[in-house]
């Protein structure tokens, strides 16, 4: 080992030697100091604030494990950390597709379901390498200035119908969500969306393509465009619409034919505080913290027992409230995990045409 190190050093020059030496000196001290410290990376913004208030701080008080926050989640960074062996994040809040992708790329630690009690947790969010944090929805959103509640488009077929519902509209610059909506607009029944008929979906997208401008890239955009009056119809994440309603924007959403999805906690392979991360996951998926976060920000708890602790008034804005959930499509992350990369490439080509 030492002769290999020496040869390697000679080859790679002074820089590598210096950094290797630093790592060797620092590592033992760090491991010791960090056993009581947990670095959590999430998406920032109002969502992470809610996590801080209802999860990070109470967890710290209860267990004495100090939580250090990072943001925003970046899959590229996660991969770089694991591959370079310098894993700074112990726990990361990722989108459902990246549990599948991360598993495939061998970037994640398997979860310890001896420690984590999944009683009450919706089975679809329980995965060997990740477990749900919250549910969210991508939905049809509209300007209430233009459409009185009740007169707004309630299906994707109506969203596609630019004669009956004219006006500028925006959709996400991503095949995810849009291809499902395109099939729904083409009258494919909700329970027959997956596996998706991609050809049919793109043909349906062809019909709406020219009416969409802009194609949004960040979650804040559709909400902003709606409240500025730049667009009158949009696809948007449900929580964002409630956030701008609070600020007085004239916008609302339609749950019908929305797409339910979830975020997951994952532990990067080589995390310095795997046990702490596991403890946090076990704690945070329980009904009480799940109810607390859903009360703070209208996303859906992943533990169905949390609804017993949520007021009926608050529950009606949540994507997983039974009334809302039954009118929505549930994402199939496994299907997307297999097809995403090819579809993104096709999507980009389609947009440029």
């Amino acid at each position: 080992m030492s002769s290999m190190t020496r040869r390697y050093v000679l080859k790679m020059g002074v820089l590598t030697a210096a950094s290797a030496a630093v790592t060797q000196v620092r590592a033992p001290g760090l491991v010791h100091a960090q056993s009581k410290q947990l670095t959590v990376c999430s998406w920032g913004g109002a969502y992470q604030e809610a996590q801080r208030k209802t999860m990070f701080q109470p967890f710290e008080t209860e267990t004495g494990i100090k939580i250090v926050e990072a943001s925003p989640t970046d899959y590229g960074k996660l991969k770089a950390m694991v591959q370079s062996g310098n894993v700074e994040w112990d726990l990361v809040d990722v989108g459902d597709l990246n549990v599948i992708a991360g598993t495939k790329d061998n970037l994640l630690e398997p979860l310890d379901y001896q420690t984590i009690d999944t009683k009450g947790v919706f089975p679809q969010v329980v995965h060997k390498y990740g477990i749900g944090t919250i549910y969210y929805s991508t939905v049809l959103a509209y300007s209430t200035k233009k459409y009185a509640k009740g007169d707004h488009p309630k299906t994707w077929a109506q969203f596609w119908d630019t004669k009956a519902f004219p006006g500028p509209r925006t959709m996400r610059n991503n095949p995810a969500d849009n291809l499902e909506f395109a099939l729904l607009a083409d009258d494919v029944p909700m329970d027959r969306i997956y596996p998706m008929d991609v050809e049919r979906a793109f043909r349906s997208m062809d019909r709406i393509k020219k009416q969409i401008n802009p194609w949004w890239t960040t979650g804040a955009q559709p909400a902003q465009l709606l409240s500025d009056g730049e667009v009158e119809l949009a696809t948007s994440w449900s929580g964002r619409i409630f956030a701008i309603q609070k600020q007085g924007a004239k916008a609302a959403l339609e749950w019908n034919q929305g797409k339910l999805q979830w975020d997951s906690w994952v532990i990067p392979r080589g995390s310095r505080n795997k046990d702490g991360a596991m403890k946090f996951i076990a704690w945070s998926t329980q009904p009480k913290p799940q109810a607390a976060i859903a009360n703070e920000i209208p996303y859906g708890p992943v533990n169905q027992k949390a609804f017993e602790l949520i007021s009926a008034q608050a529950a009606k804005d949540m994507p997983t409230a039974p009334e809302n959930a039954k009118r929505q499509l549930m994402v199939d992350p496994v299907w997307w995990g297999e097809h995403r990369n090819a579809l993104v490439e096709r999507w980009n080509a389609w947009l440029l045409k």
Binding site: L15, D74, Y75, G76, K77, K79, A101, D105, P168, N173, K209, I212, N213, P214, W215, T217, Q221, D228, G229, E230, R340, N341, V344, E345, N348, A349, L351, L352
Partner: protein, 266 residues
């Protein structure tokens, strides 16, 4: 020597890593490059990127050159004030400046509402989410990089030369074009290069102000690196962008050297 070592560490080493990431996927192969050539998207996006870069550079030059001239020839107080006006936007985040354009250029933005309320327009003009929006936003962000190098060169030009030329029978236009402009060419070349090369790597502005056809290469690289985790293709795109840019720079450098030589001959 320490400077060379420093350059080696901060430039050559990362570039080497980039190159190896594009070649080892995970074993040595040209698969990423083959994919890049095999699909028309990447070519279209490269063409987009260079088109936008060239347009932005020309517009920045058209606006920046006269501005730099006024700056260099105005009195000290005016010039100091104007210089501050050029530099202050550099301290504001690109994101903020980009959002400001959204407020101005939108369908319900200041420009469209203003023109409509004066009866000059019936329907809002499409100023945003198209090539025009991207161009306006990028010219705004990059203008200081054009103005400053030209200004610094112009500051060193002796304006008595213009008077001398006029004394020798040149009219004002001739004196400006044949004496002043050639002397300012090195600033012009530096400014144009800075703007062009920075424009090639733009990400935020085209992503927020552009339409579906205005995809630039940096957006595609981000897509591959941080969303699809396809580092092979992402790195290959970056390597190709780097190679084309470096090639262009070398060619331009040759060209401007010849230009300067030519300029010195009366």
């Amino acid at each position: 020597m320490p400077a060379l070592a420093w350059l080696g560490i901060v430039f050559v080493y990362p570039l080497g890593r980039l190159l190896s990431a594009s070649l080892f996927t995970p074993t040595l192969s040209l698969a990423s490059y083959a994919r890049l050539l095999g699909s028309s998207i990447y070519l279209t996006v490269f063409v987009n990127t260079f088109e936008i870069g060239a347009t932005v550079t020309m517009l920045a030059l058209a606006l920046g050159y006269p501005l730099a001239f006024v700056l260099a020839t105005a009195g000290p107080r005016v010039s100091r004030l104007m210089l501050a006006a050029v530099i202050v936007p550099l301290w504001t985040s690109v994101l903020v400046r980009t959002y400001a354009w959204m407020v101005l250029l939108g369908r319900r933005g200041l420009v469209n509402e203003g023109l409509q309320s004066w009866g000059l327009l019936d329907a809002p003009l499409p100023l945003l989410y198209n090539r025009l929006g991207v161009t306006i936003g990028m010219v705004h962000v990059l203008l200081p990089f054009m103005v400053l190098p030209i200004y610094s060169v112009m500051k060193g030009i002796d304006t008595d030369l213009l008077k001398a030329a006029q004394n020798l029978g040149a009219n004002r236009r001739q004196a400006f074009l044949r004496v002043y402009v050639p002397l300012s060419l090195s600033g012009l070349a530096t400014g144009s290069l800075l703007v062009f090369v920075s424009a090639l790597g733009f990400f935020v502005t085209p992503a927020l102000l552009g339409g579906r056809r205005d995809m630039m290469i940096a957006m595609l690289i981000d897509n591959q690196i941080s969303q699809l985790l396809d580092w092979g293709l992402g790195s290959a795109l970056a390597v190709v962008l780097f190679a084309i840019t470096a090639g262009l720079l070398l060619a331009v450098q040759r060209f401007t050297r010849a230009e300067r030589l030519w300029a010195r001959i009366p």
